[in-house]
Point group: C2
Chain length 432, copies 2
Amino acid sequence: MATALSRIDPPRQPAKSECRVALVGFGTVGSAVARLLHARRDDHSLRLSHVCNRNIARKKASWIASDIYWTESIQQVLASDAHVVIELMGGMEPAHELVRTALQRGKSVVTANKQLIAHFGPELLELARENQQYLGFGACVAGGVPVLSGLHDGLAGDRIGQIRGILNGTCNYILTRIEQAGMSFEDALREAQQAGFAEADPTDDIDGQDAAAKLAILARVGLKVDVSPRQVVCRSIRNIKALDFEYAHEIGCTVKQISTAKLKGGQAYLAVEPSLVPNGSPLARVAGSQNLVVSTGEFGGETTFGGHGAGGDPTAVAVVSDLLEAARGRSRGIELPDAAVPCEFTTDQEAPHYLRFVVRDRPGIIAALGGALARCHINLDAVLQKPGHAKSALPFVITLEPCRQKQLDSALVEIAKFDFLTEAPVTMPILN
Amino acid sequence: MATALSRIDPPRQPAKSECRVALVGFGTVGSAVARLLHARRDDHSLRLSHVCNRNIARKKASWIASDIYWTESIQQVLASDAHVVIELMGGMEPAHELVRTALQRGKSVVTANKQLIAHFGPELLELARENQQYLGFGACVAGGVPVLSGLHDGLAGDRIGQIRGILNGTCNYILTRIEQAGMSFEDALREAQQAGFAEADPTDDIDGQDAAAKLAILARVGLKVDVSPRQVVCRSIRNIKALDFEYAHEIGCTVKQISTAKLKGGQAYLAVEPSLVPNGSPLARVAGSQNLVVSTGEFGGETTFGGHGAGGDPTAVAVVSDLLEAARGRSRGIELPDAAVPCEFTTDQEAPHYLRFVVRDRPGIIAALGGALARCHINLDAVLQKPGHAKSALPFVITLEPCRQKQLDSALVEIAKFDFLTEAPVTMPILN
């Protein structure tokens, strides 16, 4: 087994033998991986030996080497002489079973399956360690942007206190289009689907579960906390309108889906939510389907990692980079710490806030809202109202001085009872 | 020798034994490394065992553990039981001799010495390999920004064609101050020196040799070309004036010291030079002493790495991250390819250009300059002249359509003969 043995060779004898690679899942990323391996065919250390997918007859491409074994059977892959299995099926099962069995049978694994790693990463890394195999998952977060290895290796010497980023290109594309074209959320989503930037069922993207899985992985590796994606607070971008951008611009901000993982004083806070981002922040300038991650370390300060967060080719770069690590036996890949940093998870975070209301106008509305907020000890910062809207559905914005989420939630319970609201208020934290 | 042995242990038995670290050079970075190790003292895998510096009596700090051995003798460090030597002396000798001897005696080495690695990296990496030791030099480029490991590991699967960045915080600080405060280069330099952002002798920073060393290391690791810093074209920022920013703003640009390494069609081009950067580029927004590197890969597209490029604490993060790699024996660190990508080095690059003249005004100047440029087959793009200057020293700008450096150099030879120039023209490429 070249992969396992080479890792325990002394440095003078790196494994020069060929590493056989089985690719399971031949969709956008899978075929990009095959193309990238084809483009690197002069490097004889990697050889694509097996491709596994349903309906292989439909999938076979003419440029793929003729000596590749095509199969529709995962069992054949597991029983094969491949050294590394690339898992690109997505979803939980049978991907989970495939990765477990491959590791148990002495094969290394490279995967781009963020849900699998977010939910079962520690178990699978332990299994990899027991079987002296490599488990690579750099492609799970931010596509081609090498942020996981950056946090794990390049910034290993620091103590990271916060990781914040734009981790979902679909949401960033939709929000960018609402901002640029003044369109509705629904139209922007439809456009994104037509352009191939959003899936037929976009729920996981727009409601935050996709970014939450990536954030949980980032937090495990960077903050060294033991977190499940279920502990990530998720708020949808469904209710964001073009007018939210107009009001955001008024106060020097834009709106982005922001993922934040914070560790301070033994308290961990993880959230994926639409947020107001000041124009001066590098996060404000992330365009289209790009990703950006900003880590903040106690000693190194802010470090940024940016690039293409999705797409076949950039994700294939991350997969093949992991594959090279597996084949060279250079490292054991990302290791979880022996003991996670002990912490308590909180959903109660202090921040200034943006509140957008749509009301049937009548006298006393500001007084009523101000009273409800005051009873929860929340201070108003400003009231913004742009002209040109009908009195029957009048939008306006209140910005709040920093308050805790719990205070705001209490106030919102009271506010929900007011009969002048024509729709539920939209609330977003304002980043500093 | 824990360090060497641990690297050939199988993954199940990671070296848990203490790794003794000798620190040579106790200046800004050295004392930051000691502080960071002190802050990490719960991690018993690393122990600072020796500190070597001149005048140790003056250097001893009260917070440093009392069991550290202080010495003024490099020979004592080399003869000690330290597993890893951190070289933070800077300069060529005796740093070169120290690193060579340490590796030969079976010690791993971590260094922040960019000139040493730029000039002798391949030789020293080979020596490390022969002696089965780790040589870490992540701190040599962009301080705390993990760009070297990002290029070497995270983007290993791609083919990088260009690396471009802002690699010198001193120049960026000086140019930012000229732009913001409209001050002269000399005043901005003096201010930078007083603020601790420029050294007493700033030559290497402002004339480009500092960035050239970093660029050569980036190009070796990222483009896999065998390059010496002497092959990097360097142009100084000394002649940049506040008025260059005024003209740059006119065409939607700013001025930055830009380092570029390009590999295309077997031709490599490396340069450090003041350049016009469009406001939309992330490079335009790099403020103060920050660093940013943008790599462009054939498959992954643009990837950015940004953060604090200098300073004690960020550089210490890079040093300690390498130290952890050395101590854990996780990897062999950065390895140069068995064979460099064959290429020819060129100093002749095609780009649009900015030319700024200061002249004693009289009729026919534009015609004379235009004629000289036309004879070298260079097309003018625009002529810009801002009002409010004396006719005895009148500045104006000509922008050129893309031309080769050789064409421009020929035209400049002819232009230098004109008696209406009151100073040498300033030329800069305009990035796209």
